[in-house]
Amino acid sequence: MGKLLLLEDGTMFKGEGFGADVSTTGEIVFTTGMTGYQESITDPSYCGQMITFTYPLIGNYGINRDDMESIEPTCKGVIVKEVCRRPSNWRCKQSLPDFLLAKGIPGISGIDTRMLTRKIREHGSMKAMIIDDTQDVSHAFDQLKATILPNTQVAQVSTNKAYPSPGVGRNIVVIDFGLKHSILRELSKRECNVTVMPYNTTAEEILQLAPDGVMLSNGPGNPEDVKGATALIQGIQGKVPLFGICLGHQLFSIANGGKTYKMTFGHRGSNHPVREIATGRVSFTSQNHGFAVEEASLENTPLLITHREINDQTIEGVRHKQFPAFTVQFHPDAAPGPHDAVHLFDEFMEMIDAWKEQH
């Protein structure tokens, strides 16, 4: 089935459809990871977005049972140069096209994804659309221009009800802004007793559970659209140790007086080098974010910058000067990507234990 990919700037690509045979509109972004498409496609942070894979051959090892980052993927489309027709891996249960078909997500192949990436790099992330090649293109472009992308992605992907992920260790509350399963995996490896709460939980509800620590999860979209988070964070910080990842990091910064901005095309991939300022040590990190914390906005806040991306110097981590709380922009939980920063979960555990001792 012939499909067209239309970009807000008027560019049109012709390709072949795979997965669900539906039209779609979303924000187009690219990720540079060469492996890990299953994790990316199921990552709730991509909610509302169409993912361009810069690696040209996607689907090689199919889809397996274990590498899911959410139960229902919420990305709007998958854009590739070529989708593998015969996946091969001992864990493979399904091909990528079959999976996307089952999940109602359209894919388009045959795209010059390098050209597309260069466009996104220059013009920034933009609105895009996948339609049938039989559809009226100029009408579709008009529609695309008129489209206002939703800003309620967090509400869409967050759990409606709290649920437990029982363990025998420390009591952790995870606030689900679009939680990746890998965060739960890391906590369960450390035997934590986890309760996952919806994004619009109140500070009181959390404190009632008497957590040893609270995690602010990753999630999709613009942090400024997650209005209630500031009050929530302000209500718990200083009372319980906090650890935030990605959107959780941005929300924590905002709650402490910082501001965020939309990056041109963001950081998405598995090879972003991040320096921990205190030790000078560089880790390769898994990243997926289109917004970042503005450096100037942190002046006169209680936040200390702890991590930076070494190339564009963007802020990759902060720590509260008084409270036991730190957050990072990248994913120490990896999946997909390197495990270089996974020790941050251990630091969180240590912070919890130290806090307990003091109180």
């Binding site: 299953q38 590498d67 390098r114």
Partner: protein, 1059 residues
């Protein structure tokens, strides 16, 4: 900055001559490293015995020593230069072993020289099997069950406990030399015995076979601050069991999920951190295709062939960065030289697929054992880049220059079913083509997977290529199918074949439909950051990124994969040509397909197109770039062969015109030219049938030299003594036809010499005459060459100069020319003219100080020799004597004939320079590891024709204190003539020690064997030669070479005469 300021002077050890397992990649690495160290302000002292390298050019290091890489010579240089530090990790296994010897002998400590990059302990931990095993256990990294053995019995006992199959890996040998897979006790005994002998520490590892696992490699780097990165990972098409150097490889890994990739990445980083390597390291892993189980197979604590491949595959210059790390710089303070906007602390991400296919020498060694195993056999490799795996693979296939422009070897169509299956199960160099043939015959992928353990993913890619063939055939002249085929890498030629039209017709159709390739940039970051790297590959997509500049450009064609007959020498000339083009103010564009070379370093030229060197691919680049012209003189036969078809397409060939190239290469035209110019050549003629050949031979008299016309490196060339052999040759070796004529020449036994000349149309500069040690009959590439000539009379030299001038101007040479002469009774005959740069260009450039390829390029671009300050004729001779000696890789190639003849067999060369011929020869022999003890035993078995001459050689050996061993015929003759000889038993001797046992047991320290022309006793001689080579005993098959080494030994020994 963390740069070391406590050291100023650093010595770099090169890798010596090119041999199988250690090729041009170390020239690339060494050159980068030296330049990087100089860039940081250090004084660099380089030692390398290989003159055919860019790294031994004067401007690469502050001091360049072209001397043997042996303890004797390197320690002298160290004592003289007193460097502060030694960087041993860029010269392959040779450099590393040399450093270890220097350290263990206490010299480094004595001279207070620090080892940079990798500490001795790390080298030991990675290379010594025992220590490696210990380290892996400490790191909790799994390795296959194994045991170190020092005796065959221990090996057998251990194999019984873990079960067969097992792999034998001798310690400290190059490219796994002497190792192998054993299915039973018999083969285990044989391989272990040999392996123990080859291992300098008499140690072998017996290891549980994990054949069939996925073989994955990680190229990792680490700095002193413990920052560590993975530059690239690669997945072998061939599962574990075939040496990675002999495997088809893809980058990045193709069938690994992120979980598996991260598992192996973690392991690799853990290992490099534990070894505390400051620089690059290669980790080879085996991954179970059915679970997360993996094993660490091997760690190379140095820059390797794989790291050169990874550098070219990603753009990330590993050797350069490794050198800077060695002097203290850290990854997070250096810029990524590709983007220049991001830091070197970066893990490249690819947006294309890279394929590497090894290039094997079995076109030259038709009788060689082609089965692949743990011993590497390839001499070189090609790499290709594509946006689909099929495209990448097909580009690599056609880069091989083995007569395949597609995934197809036509002769396999005739192959029997059983043979086909056997070739698929027991991989040899051409298994890829057998697999394709099997798929064409309808084999199911599942069957092929069972037979080969190759992943279905890869097999499906082959199937896809074949499906596209079918689709093309079913849809002739359809643009849709054409576009699809192009996107998957099909050549116009293959499409033309399927559509039964000419290749040109397809090209025209494509051009009309605007179906042209675009060129994408290799930028390490998948376009995430802006880059300006001038490094491109073609594909059929939408956006072209290669911007043509205003500046007039010149395209230089490289020489493709390294093979016997076309080695690194041509890359040397190519790089020099590029430099001259740039200096003349043009943009220099290079095209090549070889990842090992300096020429494919993107910082060498203004633009690099990493592409196959086929007419179609070259024309595509020309269509885009519109260069002023193309230079084909420096890329060996690969580039020269493109001259004619390119001219037909209206492309301007710079330098000698195509008509004149033809006058040198076409036998009939050449003869006419020689007559016109009054230059004598041996009698001869061209035959298009067997009868004709016999008539010619009768007319000119035997022996005759026969060969097909248009050959490279003397392929299929033979000296034939009589009509019976000639008939056999015409039937077996060549199939003469009007399209494929055979040359029959009088074989003149005489002194051989050669010249390289540069001609600007008026004047001819002859940098020097090189005299060969071996008489005519041994291929010039396999002969030892001496400059300046030691035995030629002034008249002969004059004649050579005069003929060279006549030929150069008479054939309208513009640029380089190489001429080979044979001298008999003071008469000079021309035997061959090559209208291009030859393999002696680097040697002669170095010994004369004339940058020949640069001068030739400037001439080609219009300058005159006079304006550059050169005078017509022979350049003044140097005061030193220089010897170039060939180096062979016979020990790695089973069943290959080692006797020297008209077909070239050497893989590399070394150079020895000193004040006398004997001293220079000594160095050349030492550098090529032809080391003879001061006394010992020499085994002589020679043919009847050479007995008389051998007698003299034997007598001289006896005089310097050697005892003589000989087989019956030779022994009788020697005894008759009054020499004391010990008789050794024949090969089939059951009771006593046979001649082969004598060699195996190390009782002969040198073997001299000349081949019987009659072919009858050939097999005995063959076994003697093979046994010598496989047991590392110096072997001489030409009495001239034996004479040369005797001269050296005589010059070193004292007179022992009684009164």
């Amino acid at each position: 900055m963390t740069k070391r300021t406590d050291i100023q002077k650093i010595m770099v050890i090169g890798s010596g001559p090119i041999i199988i397992g250690q090729a041009a990649e170390f020239d690339y690495a060494g050159t980068q490293a030296c330049l990087a160290l100089k860039e940081e302000g250090y004084e660099v002292v380089l030692v390398n015995s290989n003159p055919a390298t860019i790294m031994t050019d004067q401007e690469i290091a502050d001091k360049v020593y072209i001397e043997p890489i042996t303890f004797e010579f390197v320690s002298r240089i160290l004592r003289k230069e007193r460097p502060d530090a030694l960087l041993p990790t860029l010269g392959g296994q040779t450099g590393l072993n040399m450093a270890m010897e220097l350290a263990k002998e206490g010299l480094l400590e004595e001279l207070e020289i620090e080892l940079l990059g990798t500490k001795l302990t790390a080298i030991d931990q990675a290379e010594d099997r025992d220590l490696f095993k210990q380290l892996m256990e400490e790191l909790d990294q799994p390795i296959p069950e194994s045991d170190i053995v020092h005796t065959v019995e221990d090996a057998v006992a251990f194999a019984e406990t873990i079960g067969y199959p097992v792999i034998v890996r001798p310690a400290f040998t190059l490219g796994g030399t002497g190792g192998g897979m054993c299915d039973n006790e018999e083969s285990l005994r044989e391989i272990t015995e040999n392996g123990l002998k080859l291992s300098p520490v008499s140690q072998c590892l017996i290891e549980k076979s994990i054949a069939g696992f996925k073989e994955i490699e990680y190229e990792v780097m680490r700095d002193a601050a413990d920052n560590a990165i993975v530059v690239c990972n690669m997945e072998n098409f061939d599962p574990v069991g075939i040496h990675t150097g002999d495997s088809i490889v893809f980058a990045p890994s193709q069938t690994l999920s992120d979980v598996e990739h991260q598992l192996l990445r973690d392991a690799s980083l853990k290992i490099i951190r534990a070894l505390k390597i400051e620089g690059g390291c290669n980790v080879q892993l085996a991954l179970d295709p059915d679970s997360f189980d993996y094993y660490v197979i091997e760690v190379n604590p140095r820059v390797s062939r794989s790291s050169a491949l990874a550098s070219k595959a990603t753009g990330f210059p590993i050797a350069k960065i490794a050198a800077k790390i060695a002097v203290g710089l850290t990854l997070d303070e250096m810029m990524n030289p590709v983007t220049n906007t991001t830091y070197a602390e970066f893990e490249p991400t690819l947006d294309y697929i890279v394929s590497k296919i090894p290039r094997w020498p079995f076109d030259k060694f038709e009788k060689g054992e082609r089965k692949l195993g743990t011993q590497m056999k390839a001499t070189g490799e090609v790499m290709a880049i594509g946006r689909t795996l099929e495209e990448s693979l097909l580009k690599a296939v056609r880069s091989l220059e083995i007569g395949a422009h597609h995934l197809e070897l036509k002769e396999l169509k005739e192959c029997q079913e059983l043979t086909l299956q056997d070739k698929i199960i027991h991989a040899q160099d051409d298994r890829l083509f057998y697999l394709a043939e099997a798929i064409r015959r309808g084999y199911k992928l599942e069957e092929l997977h069972v037979l080969t353990k190759i992943d279905d993913f890869f097999l499906d890619k082959l199937l896809h290529i074949i499906e596209i063939e079918t689709e093309l055939a079913a849809n002739p002249h359809q643009l849709d199918s054409l576009l699809k085929a192009k996107q998957y890498g099909f050549t116009d030629k293959k499409i033309a074949e399927l559509w039964e039209v000419s290749e040109e017709a397809i090209r025209q159709k494509r051009v009309q439909a605007n179906l042209l390739p675009v060129y994408k940039m290799v930028d390490t970051c998948a376009a995430e950051f802006e880059s300006t790297t001038p490094y491109f590959y073609s594909t059929y997509e939408e956006e072209n990124e290669s911007q043509v500049t205003e500046k007039p450009s010149i395209l230089v064609l490289g020489s493709g994969p390294i093979r016997i007959g076309q080695g690194v020498e041509f890359d040397y000339a190519t790089v020099h040509s590029v430099k001259a083009i740039q200096q003349a103010g043009y943009e220099a564009i290079i095209m090549n397909s070889n990842p090992e070379t300096v020429s494919t370093d993107f910082s060498i030229s203004d633009k690099l197109y990493f592409e196959p060197l086929t007419l179609e691919d070259v024309l595509n680049v020309i269509d885009l770039e519109q260069p002023l012209g193309v230079i084909v003189q420096f890329g060996g036969q690969t580039a020269i062969n493109l001259a004619e078809p390119l001219t037909k397409h209206g492309v301007k060939i710079l330098g000698t015109s195509i008509e004149d190239l033809d006058r040198a290469e076409n036998r009939d035209l050449f003869e006419v030219a020689l007559k016109d110019l009054d230059v004598p050549q041996p009698l001869g003629d061209t035959a298009v049938s067997e009868q004709e050949a016999i008539l010619i031979a009768e007319k000119i008299g035997y022996p005759v030299l026969v060969r097909p016309s248009y050959v490279l490196g003397g392929r299929a060339m033979e000296i034939v003594e009589n009509q019976v052999d000639l008939e056999r040759y015409m039937k077996e070796a060549v199939k003469a036809s009007p399209e494929h004529p055979v040359l029959v020449d009088r074989y003149i036994v005489g002194q051989e010499c050669e010249v390289d000349a540069i001609c600007d149309g008026k004047q001819v500069l002859i940098p020097g005459i090189m005299e060969h040690i071996e008489r005519a009959g041994v291929h010039s590439g396999d002969s030892m060459a001496v400059y300046p000539p030691q035995t030629l009379s002034a008249e002969v030299k004059e004649k050579i100069v005069s003929y060279t001038k006549r030929l150069a101007t008479g054939l309208n040479c513009l640029g380089m020319m190489n001429i080979q002469f044979v001298i008999q009774n003071e008469q000079v005959y021309v035997i061959e003219v090559n209208p291009r740069a030859s393999r002696t260009v680097p040697f002669l450039s170095k010994v004369t100080g004339i940058p020949m390829a640069q001068i030739a390029t400037r001439v080609i671009l219009g300058e005159s020799l006079e304006s550059m300050g050169y005078v017509d004729g022979l350049y003044p001779e140097s005061r030193y004597v220089h010897v170039k000696a060939p180096v062979f890789s016979f020990s790695k190639l089973q069943k290959v004939e080692t006797s020297l003849g008209p077909e070239m067999k050497s893989t590399g060369e070394v150079m020895g320079t000193d004040t006398s011929l004997e001293k220079a020869l000594y160095k050349a022999f030492e550098a090529s590891h032809m080391h003879l003890p001061n006394y010992g035993s020499v085994l002589i078995t020679v043919s009847d024709e050479t007995k008389e001459e051998a007698l003299e050689i034997a007598r001289r050996f006896q005089n310097i204190g050697y005892s003589l061993l000989a087989t019956e015929g030779t022994a009788n003759y020697f005894t008759e003539k009054g020499l004391v000889v010990s008789l050794v038993g024949k090969i089939d001797n059951e009771q006593d020690e046979s001649v082969l046992d004598v060699i195996r047991l190390g009782k002969a320290h040198v073997v001299i064997n000349t081949m019987d022309k009659s072919q009858e006793t050939a097999t005995d001689g063959f076994q003697i030669r093979r046994t010598a080579v496989e047991h590392g005993v110096p072997l001489f098959t030409s009495l001239d070479t034996a004479d040369a080494i005797l001269r050296v030994m005589e010059s070193q020994s004292f007179l022992m005469e009684s009164l």
